[in-house]
């Protein structure tokens, strides 16, 4: 007789899958509006933001696949969830690529300085042996840069719409820092907090997408 389903496989994993599904919805909605904006206006900066959020969405799908695999293979426990997240190398790499696009978008908006900021980071990608640490470092640097720009955009316009990306990217930055903490100290609580912050960030983007759809 097969063992009864555990608390993890019955509640925790499906809950995380649900969070990922909501995150994916937020990203896809935003991608849709950015794509339409790109088609209508022909402004290339929209292409950077579109590409960034599209790759983030692809990463989210990869994360969901890894999580689903963990659920279906019967791997249980918070540690398994923690490991499945880290093992999602595709998701991690795609997140870095996505953030590069978004950072480039902000850079081109401010001025033609992308080479100075983005290329040195790209040139460091030789060591793929430790994808996690490399992506964590890159993501933290990129998110810090993106947050500074997003806050700058908000400070110059002081409009609620501009505050939403600033909040979203700040949450993502905090999530990244918490994720690094959780790995350094092998602390699952930090991992859960990191996941919650990331989700909060994406939900802020969902609010933005809804506001745009209602405009």
């Amino acid at each position: 007789m097969p063992p009864p389903p555990s608390f993890w496989s019955m509640y925790v994993f499906p809950f995380f899958l649900l969070l990922d599904a909501f995150s994916l919805l937020a990203l896809l909605l935003l991608c849709y509006f950015l794509y339409r904006a790109l088609l209508t206006s022909g402004i290339r900066l929209f292409a950077f933001f579109f590409a960034g959020f599209a790759v983030l969405a692809a990463g989210e799908v990869a994360r969901m696949i890894v999580l689903m695999t963990a659920v279906l293979s019967g791997t249980v426990g918070l540690r398994a969830l923690f490991l499945s997240h880290i093992a999602g190398a595709v998701a991690r790499v795609s997140e870095t690529v996505a953030l590069l696009f978004i950072a480039a978008g902000y850079t081109f908006e401010v001025g033609e300085k992308a080479r100075a900021v983005v290329l040195p980071l790209l040139q460091r990608r030789r060591d793929w042996a430790d994808v996690f640490w490399l992506t964590s470092l890159l993501n933290t640097v990129l998110l810090t840069y993106i947050v500074i720009n997003a806050v700058g955009v908000y400070m110059s316009s002081r409009k609620r719409t501009a505050a939403l990306p600033a909040v979203a990217f700040s949450c993502m930055l905090l999530s990244e820092i918490l994720l690094v903490q959780s790995l350094l100290w092998v602390d699952e609580l930090y991992f859960i907090l990191s996941k919650a912050m990331y989700f909060l960030g994406l939900m802020t983007l969902l609010v933005l997408a809804i506001e745009v759809s209602r405009a």
């Binding site: 509006f33 402004i43 929209f46 908006e109 719409t161 990306p165 745009v212 405009a215």
Partner: protein, 91 residues
């Protein structure tokens, strides 16, 4: 000094004037869109050609009315405006 308006913004501003007025004549649009007569005439021809505006002629003057396509374009523009504002993109 304000930045130069993009073509997209100029078109949206013309359509906004017509939307606000219901029906607007050239003088009204000229005043509110802040364009020269020659440039406005070109834009109006283009907008009528694309089906965003409808030319309504009565005995005294020519007026312009927003079409359904024009309304849809304005709605799309407002979405773009919000996204541009959110990410600090100049339209």
């Amino acid at each position: 000094m304000s930045a130069r308006r993009s073509r997209l913004r100029i078109i949206a501003e013309i359509l906004k004037v017509v939307e606000r007025e219901g029906e607007a004549n050239v003088s009204k649009i000229l005043l509110e869109a802040n364009l020269s007569y020659a440039r406005l005439a070109k834009y109006l021809d283009e907008l009528v050609g694309k089906g965003f505006l409808q030319r309504v002629t009565d005995e005294r003057e020519v007026k312009f009315r927003l079409t359904r396509k024009g309304q849809e374009f304005l709605r799309e523009f407002r979405r773009i405006e919000q996204l541009a504002e959110a990410f600090g993109i100049e339209l």
